[in-house]
């Protein structure tokens, strides 16, 4: 393996543009593929994209900052509720609703980041869980705002740019979601390679060393939590906009745990990993879980054990390994 292959254009500006263009091309191709494979189930795909944003959001704190969180759905769910309420209050422009979701997510992200990144290890993990559970309990209690266990329903967003209405087949919603995912993904590709993004990875690797180059660790982590909140908030907003309903499941522990599973399956610390993990997991879930929800649990468990034992860096590393092997096999041949 040459040294160049490792960096993937991280150090040379000439390569920056193609990397982002490649991301756009791949995301568009995936979007088209999804449409071709599930033309009658676009609702599933829009849901998938919304969750993928949650997983990307989690990747920013877990994969890039090393903060293991089991309460990340709090960000996603709160934004979904805020967006739902904003829409019910008459602000139905989808772009405005996205903005509302992003802001709500940012606030939630900053608050939970300020709490969670104060400590490391077990206290950190427990705080992340506690924040998530606290929000879930509140969502259940404040039924005037959340609809309690019935969920918040009747959310009907207006036309995008005042032109494109959300149709009952979910076509508009799907195109809208793919576009949002694409923009977020490209922006994140830049953010994780910015000095700020690199610094967060440095903090993950060795917090003390990062301090010794002059980094203010806590504010950086809180800020990354805020960015993560924006992404998760956009995911939550998409959920509310596309489905028209926000349920308690969107803030629950299971949602947080599942997001973590998807992230690790794909590969934490890589945006592609987050994306691949959420796609593979949810497509798999779509078929298996429908067949038998109980076997589904067993299979997810077995999958997790297998990932930890055989592919600790996720599918994305397996893919890389495979590509590397194939390349070296090809090279060996005259």
């Amino acid at each position: 393996m040459t040294d160049r292959t490792m960096v993937d254009g991280m150090s040379a500006p000439r390569l920056t543009l193609p990397l982002e263009l490649r991301a756009v091309a791949i995301t568009l191709a995936l979007g088209a593929l999804g449409y071709a494979l599930f033309p009658d189930d676009l609702a599933f795909l829009t849901r998938l994209i919304s969750i993928a944003l949650l997983v990307l959001s989690l990747d920013l704190v877990t994969g890039y900052c090393g903060v293991a969180s089991l309460g990340h759905a709090a960000i996603y769910g709160v934004s979904a509720y805020v967006v739902g309420n904003a829409c019910l209050a008459g602000h139905s422009d989808p772009l405005l609703l996205l903005l509302v979701g992003a802001v709500a997510g940012a606030v939630m992200g900053l608050v939970s980041g300020a709490l969670v990144t104060r400590f490391k290890g077990l206290p950190q993990l427990v705080l992340s869980i506690a924040v998530g559970q606290l929000v879930a309990a509140l969502a259940n209690k404040l039924s005037t705002l959340t609809g309690g266990s019935d969920g918040l329903s009747g959310i009907s967003p207006g036309r995008i740019f005042g032109i494109y209405a959300f149709d009952m087949y979910g076509r508009t919603g799907y195109v809208f979601s793919v576009a949002v995912l694409l923009i977020v993904f490209v922006v994140l590709l830049r953010i994780v390679r910015s000095p700020f993004g690199l610094l967060c990875q440095a903090i993950k690797d060795d917090g003390l060393r990062a301090r010794m180059i002059g980094a203010r660790v806590y504010p950086r982590l809180v800020l990354m939590y805020g960015v993560s909140g924006v992404v998760g908030g956009i995911g939550g907003a998409l959920n509310a906009i596309n489905t028209g309903v926000v349920g308690l499941d969107s803030v629950g522990f299971e949602r947080s745990a599942e997001a973590l599973v998807m992230l690790v399956l794909g590969g934490a610390g890589s945006l592609w990993g987050a994306l691949i993990g959420s796609i593979v997991f949810q497509v798999f879930e779509h078929y298996v879980s429908a067949a038998n929800p109980f076997h589904w649990m067993t299979m997810v468990g077995a999958l997790l054990i297998a990932v930890v034992l055989f592919a600790p860096k996720g599918l994305v590393s397996l893919g890389g390994l495979l590509a590397g092997r194939t390349a070296s096999v090809l090279r060996r041949r005259p």
Binding site: R193, G197, D205, G214
Partner: protein, 255 residues
């Protein structure tokens, strides 16, 4: 007095009743090259941690260029030019060699707040991290992942990060420990070529290196500073000999 860059005044550090550093005072001026030696367990690394801000001393004060930094966080001391390297290599292993050093450069320049742009390749930034890598002869490794470096190369990189931060006071914690000889000569060269106006405090076991490098030697034993002065005198000093011989005797006893 204004020439003193680093000054310790009666610094003591205790862990649960154990005095690891006991009433230590010394000062290092501009351009000075000082070595800190002492037997194992003398409290050298603790002292470095106190100076760098990883630990807050139980008593006493640390001054940097006349300013009391005793209660200040690590990052403020780094901003003021107090830089350290580590005895056990600590690097950012998920980044490349270039990114490790460039991050230090960008941190110093206040660029790590930038969240969207990528100034790593801006000419002024690039020049600096390339120079730091070049000084230590590892420029050819720039794009390599740190986790794939040999140990000696990691030590060189650790020092390169230190240099990139443009220290005024540089603390080197056993910079050449465990490094193969051809690379350790690079480390020594790099230390020789450090800007002449900065103050360097080096912890080292290798007495050859100490004699080559230091104009002044501090000896720490049982947490106390028992000698400071000319390197030529240190080997004849009674108390120093006793401290070292004592520790060897103890070591033989224990094993």
């Amino acid at each position: 007095m204004s020439q003193s860059l680093l000054e310790l005044r009666n610094v003591s550090m205790s862990f649960g009743g154990m005095r690891v550093n006991d009433d230590i005072s010394f000062s290092i001026g501009k351009g000075e090259r000082v070595a800190l030696i002492g037997p194992n367990g003398a409290g050298k690394t603790t002292l470095v941690n106190v100076i760098s801000g990883d630990l807050t001393p139980s008593q006493g004060a640390v001054q940097l260029a006349g300013v009391d930094v005793t209660g200040l966080p690590i990052s403020d001391r780094v901003d003021a030019g107090l830089i350290r390297t580590f005895q056990i290599t600590r690097l950012f292993k998920s980044l490349t060699v270039a990114q490790n050093v460039a991050l230090a450069v960008m941190q110093r320049k206040g660029l790590t707040r930038q969240i969207f742009s990528s100034p790593m390749d801006r000419p002024d930034v690039r020049r600096e991290w390339e120079r730091a890598l070049g000084t230590l002869g590892i420029a050819h490794l720039a794009d390599r992942q740190v986790s794939k470096l040999a140990y000696g190369q990691q030590r060189l990189l650790d020092l390169a990060i230190g240099l990139a931060l443009e220290p005024k006071v540089l603390l080197l914690d056993e910079p050449a420990a465990g490094v193969p000889s051809e690379e350790s000569s690079k480390i020594i060269e790099a230390i020789d070529r450090l800007p002449s106006d900065i103050a360097v405090l080096m912890i080292e076991h290798d007495m050859d290196l100490v004699f080559k490098f230091a104009r002044r030697v501090l000896v720490l034993a049982n947490g106390k500073l028992i000698f400071q002065g000319d390197p030529a005198e240190v080997t004849h000093h009674q108390e120093v000999r006793r401290a070292y011989l004592g520790s060897y005797a103890d070591a033989r006893h224990a094993s």
